[in-house]
């Protein structure tokens, strides 16, 4: 057996035991019938999937995708300049900046969410600031979708910046100098050199942000209130409160499907980047 297989073997085994088997169990369960007494019976049904298309759950699914997309979009917007700065700055600024950036990943999501409650709450820091500035716009961001997006951007930003940085560091300063020498303005260089060459980092950053964002539970539970509920919250409630495990399973399968779609889109995007290279040659 080649040595490489020995190297991935243990992890592969763990994946089968702890991911593939439970997941196939969930898939199976999602076709079973709910029973108030035994939780489920083995009668096969599509009822659980039909239920997802009722307005209430369809709305939650759409909201989940929307929150994920918005959070990813703002991560790109904030992350691109940051990643560029980090890939070009001094070692010292890098270590300080990295520390600040990665902080939210090291703090528990509960603590992070609580921090945002303090800031966004009715008597929180944001409204206090608005009041002192005499702006009469009592913000009611807390317990809305917006609060979830804000907290998610804060939490997910490092997942966008780190892969972007990795691909930007590989863009030699010489390339930028060569482009400048050829008369390219900074904006032209960003558009024609930096963005195309950091595409791989952008794709993996987006994938990481989106998949983590749509499967979040704690953040939306603490900050989203009723109008910010996501698939994760619904699954949690179905399992813990309603005891409708078959329906919870079908919701989980929807979530997994969304992630698989995102992953495929990322693969296509990455491959198209390579193909334009190959086709022109």
């Amino acid at each position: 057996m080649p040595a490489s297989l020995w190297l991935i073997g243990p992890y592969f085994l763990a994946l089968v035991v702890f991911l593939a088997l439970p997941l196939s169990n969930v898939l199976q369960l999602s076709f079973y019938t709910y029973s108030p007494i035994t939780i489920w019976t083995t009668d096969l049904t599509l009822q659980n999937y039909h239920k997802i298309f009722t307005p209430y759950f369809a709305k939650i699914t759409l909201r989940t995708v929307r929150i994920g997309a918005l959070a990813t979009f703002f991560c790109v917007l904030l992350g691109y300049p940051l990643a560029y700065y980090f890939s070009r700055c001094s070692k010292r600024s890098l270590s300080v900046g990295m520390f600040i950036l990665v902080m939210p990943l090291m703090v528990s999501a509960v603590v992070g969410a609580f921090g945002w409650i303090v800031i966004l709450g009715r008597n929180g820091l944001l409204n206090g600031l608005l009041k002192t500035l005499n702006i009469d716009a009592d913000s009611s961001i807390l317990y809305t979708e917006t609060a979830v997006v804000v907290a998610l951007v804060h939490f997910l930003l490092p997942l966008m910046v780190l892969p972007l940085m990795a691909s930007m560091e590989k863009i030699s300063m010489r390339l930028e100098e060569a482009a400048t020498n050829l008369g390219a303005s900074p904006l032209f260089i960003i558009r024609r050199i930096i963005i195309p060459l950091s595409r791989a980092g952008l794709v993996s950053g987006c994938l990481l942000c989106f998949t983590v964002a749509i499967s979040v539970v704690v953040t939306s539970a603490l900050l989203g209130g009723r109008s910010g509920r996501m698939l994760g919250n619904e699954i949690y409630d179905q399992v813990i409160t309603a005891y409708d495990w078959p329906f919870a399973s079908s919701l989980a399968i929807v979530l997994v499907t969304l992630i698989v779609i995102a992953l495929s889109a990322a693969l296509v995007a990455a491959r198209r980047g390579n193909r334009t290279k190959g086709m022109r040659s």
């Binding site: 010489r174 060569a178 008369g183 390219a184 022109r280």
Partner: protein
């Protein structure tokens, strides 16, 4: 294609920029340029001017300030004092992307995600040149560079030499008034380097493109340049034609840096018949053709190895001036040339270079040979 590549007067693009092309007018002037890094590390003051159509080299060991000077001209380094004038206009505060000066780096620095064609078109697109004109100009410059068949290739599919040619084409397509080359050949292997050297020189002559070439390779500088500036520790030691630099160096540094040389510390001990008598510390007496100098003046005598003759025979006393009994101590066979280390008069070791394949060539350990140095070939340096 010549109207784009500017065979004759094309260095001057349209007429946005007043352009001084009259013969003898300097294209580039550097006046007292100083670039400070820390309190005690600085380049300059450096002053020189490059004439229209000239191939001008900055030659020196690493760290002498040649690349810094070039980067100041291109605008990638700030100038702390002094002035840079292009066609009579000050450019030292113009941002680098508006200077319009071509620069080719040591590494080709091609854009890896663009084809050869797109690489060459990049600058034209940045200047918002119309599409069909871009196609035409890119085609012309690729043909000129011998790259017509490579337009659709990606940079990684090209050899090192081809990549460097694309980098050059990418600069030339913009018809820059001045071309800067930062050791563009040093990443190539020897054979290709020599071939590219000739190619580059021919292209430069054909386009009459004013060029500043930075190199640490003295052979390269001598072979390609109209004039060479030898730099040392942030200042210019000497500016001259390759011939002047080689045969009449003004300092020990230049003599040592250009070619191989025998350098002897000597003292003036007499003057007769238009010849100075010199004595080395080891007691060897040399004559040189030179104006009178005061007795006891200390100087350095430079004798190029290919100027020393080795003759089989004895009887040094009866021979003309500067003939010494010698003994071959060491010999290096280099194919075309043979290098000898010869001890003359049991006192001074000389490096002697002769063509190989001569009859009666001396061998190691051989005694009974005469070392002859013409007094005209002993060059006295006082710096």
């Amino acid at each position: 294609m010549s109207h784009q590549l500017g065979g004759e007067g094309g260095q001057c693009r349209q007429s946005e920029r007043p352009c001084i092309d009259k013969h003898g007018e300097p294209r580039l002037e550097i006046a007292d340029l100083i670039r400070r890094y820390t309190a005690d590390v600085a380049v300059g003051p450096i002053s020189f001017s490059v004439r229209e159509g000239e191939f001008f080299s900055l030659l020196g060991p690493s760290g002498c300030g040649k690349t810094t000077t070039l980067r100041c001209i291109a605008g990638f380094e700030n100038v702390d004092s002094g002035a840079i004038l292009l066609s009579g206009q000050r450019i030292d505060s113009v941002p680098p992307h508006k200077r319009g000066i071509g620069l080719v780096f040591q590494t080709p620095a091609l854009f890896p995600h663009l084809t050869v064609q797109e690489n060459v078109a990049f600058g034209l697109e940045a200047h918002k040149v119309p599409k069909d004109e871009i196609v035409q100009r890119v085609g012309a410059v690729l043909e000129l560079s011998g790259l017509s068949n490579f337009g659709q290739r990606m940079p990684h599919q090209l050899s090192g030499g081809q990549q460097q040619r694309v980098a050059l084409a990418r600069s030339l397509v913009l018809e820059p008034p001045l071309l800067l080359l930062d050791e563009p050949l040093s990443s190539l292997d020897l054979k290709l380097r020599i071939q590219m050297r000739e190619e580059l020189r021919n292209l430069q002559r054909r386009l009459r493109k004013t060029t500043v070439f930075v190199t640490h390779d003295q052979t390269e500088a001598l072979a390609m340049s109209d004039r060479v500036a030898v730099l040392s520790q942030g200042h210019i030691e000497q500016i001259g034609t390759p011939e002047e630099i080689y045969s009449t160096p003004i300092s020990r540094f230049v003599a040592e840096f250009i070619g191989s040389s025998n350098l002897l510390d000597v003292e003036v001990v007499g003057f007769s018949n238009g010849h100075l008598d010199l004595a080395t510390a080891a007691g060897l007496r040399l004559k040189t053709r030179s104006p009178r100098m005061p007795i006891a003046t200390k100087a350095t005598a430079l004798i190029r190895p290919e100027r020393i003759r080795l003759v089989l025979g004895t009887g040094a006393a009866a021979s003309p001036a500067n003939t010494f009994a010698g003994e071959v101590r060491d010999m290096t066979y280099l194919g075309e040339d043979v290098h000898y280390r010869v001890l003359a008069s049991q006192s001074e070791m000389f490096l002697v270079s002769t063509n190989s394949g001569k009859p009666n060539s001396p061998v190691v350990g051989q005694e009974g040979i005469l070392v002859h140095i013409d007094p005209n070939d002993v060059f006295l340096l006082t710096k």
